[in-house]
């Protein structure tokens, strides 16, 4: 089972076309191993991306150096997934009872 320990989800806001181009550069940086839940489309729409722990510093520094506004929408992805699995198991138990 793939684990996402230390992974975070960033929500990135883009102001204009120039920032959109910068964000697309990030999309193409394969060594960062990013998982874009939704790809950048227009400046109006924010973008959600899963950032692995190994890339957190690099991605933050990329975003900050290009003035891209971001917030961390999920602090610990694995904790959330563990909670989801726990809840599903709990519900299965309830159904059997």
């Amino acid at each position: 089972k793939e684990k996402f320990n230390g992974h975070q989800v960033f929500q990135i806001k883009v102001r204009d076309g120039e920032q959109m181009n910068k964000l697309n550069e990030l999309v193409n940086m394969e060594n960062f191993k990013l998982n874009f839940w939704k790809l950048p489309t227009t400046p109006k729409r924010s973008v959600d991306v899963v950032v692995p722990s190994s890339s957190l510093k690099l991605v933050k520094s990329f975003l900050e150096s290009h003035g891209l506004e971001y917030s961390i929408s999920i602090e610990d992805l694995q904790a959330l997934l563990d909670e989801e699995i726990k809840e599903m198991k709990h519900n299965r138990g309830k159904e059997r009872n």
Partner: protein, 306 residues
């Protein structure tokens, strides 16, 4: 019957059992049909809701084509139970089913769904493999024969938006295509995705407006208004191309180009805070509000049979 928790996420097996239970509970209204097998040989099940015989005008409801969008499968199964419990008790669903059939596919990509529950929660595509290609799966919403391999789809097998080697190469897509074409009397095709709170209509492969633009836009706005009336959830409405991005080979473009006029696609909650990890406590409100929008569309289809 009180045993199935609609406010929780479930395994494929549990969803399939519940589909079977709905059919058993309402034998005169619902039946579970197998329309094919997935790449990994799992059954592709559809619930048919019908009160008549023959190939009556029909509505296709499709959910879970992208496996990680768990709210769409959960909403699909809730809708199934809602349809059977409303028939005979709620006037609009009763009158629709007195004249039309509804086909509902809550898990359109079962292999991906199982994979997203056991290996990678963020899996989107099918699980098909092509000899000589390292990456697994095709985006089943780029695989339909509607400007196949055009703008907004990738020819890279490792991409999340890979269109596949040829149109309908994915057995999950082909099974639906064959079923709809053999039936020949579908009037509406509605696909359910998540997330980003959008209600869209054709086209995705071009930014040219469809010939029924005005009517589709008006129906979609009314549906979004009905949806918002329950919890204030705000949806944006428009053609796929201008509302999100260009996407060729999508299910509703195929449906529309094959004569199914009322083609819509939903992107359910939320707008990115949880994304594909929408907490289970939001399943019921999401399903309830989505149902209001679906009813507006289905009533319109019923009143405008062509």
């Amino acid at each position: 019957n009180g045993n199935f928790n609609y406010g929780a996420y479930h395994s494929l097996e549990e969803l399939y059992q519940e589909m079977d239970r709905i059919a058993s509970d309402y034998p005169n209204l619902a039946s579970r049909q197998e329309i094919g097998r997935s790449f990994e040989k799992r059954p592709l099940y559809v619930l048919k809701f019908s009160t008549g015989k023959g190939k009556r005008p029909a509505i296709w409801l499709n959910a879970g084509i992208h496996s990680r969008e768990w709210i769409s499968q959960a909403t699909g199964i809730w809708i199934a139970r809602k349809i059977v419990s409303d028939y005979g008790n709620e006037s609009s669903i009763t009158s629709i089913l007195d004249e039309m059939d509804i086909f509902l596919m809550p898990v359109a990509n079962p292999d991906g769904y199982v994979y997203s529950q056991t290996k990678n929660r963020f899996w989107r595509k099918t699980r098909s493999r092509v000899p000589g290609i390292q990456c697994v799966g095709v985006d089943p919403n780029r695989n339909w024969n509607a400007s196949f391999s055009g703008e907004g789809a990738s020819n890279d097998p490792c991409s999340e938006a890979y269109h596949g080697p040829k149109p309908h190469s994915e057995i999950e897509v082909k099974s639906v295509v064959d079923f709809i074409q053999n039936h020949g009397n579908f009037k509406s095709f509605i696909d359910i995705h998540s997330y980003s709170q959008l209600l869209m209509y054709p086209y995705g492969y071009t930014c040219k407006h469809p010939r029924d633009f005005a009517e589709l836009d008006q129906v979609a706005h009314r549906a979004a208004k009905a949806l918002a009336s329950l919890y204030g959830t705000s949806y944006r409405v428009g053609p796929i191309c201008s509302t999100i991005y260009m996407a060729s080979g999508s299910s509703i473009d195929w449906a529309y180009e094959n004569g199914i006029k009322y083609a819509f696609t939903f992107e359910l909650r939320d707008t990115g805070h949880y994304g594909f990890l929408l907490p289970a406590q939001q399943i019921l409100p999401t399903a309830e509000e989505t149902w209001l929008a679906l009813k507006v569309i289905m009533k319109h289809v019923h009143h405008h049979l062509y």
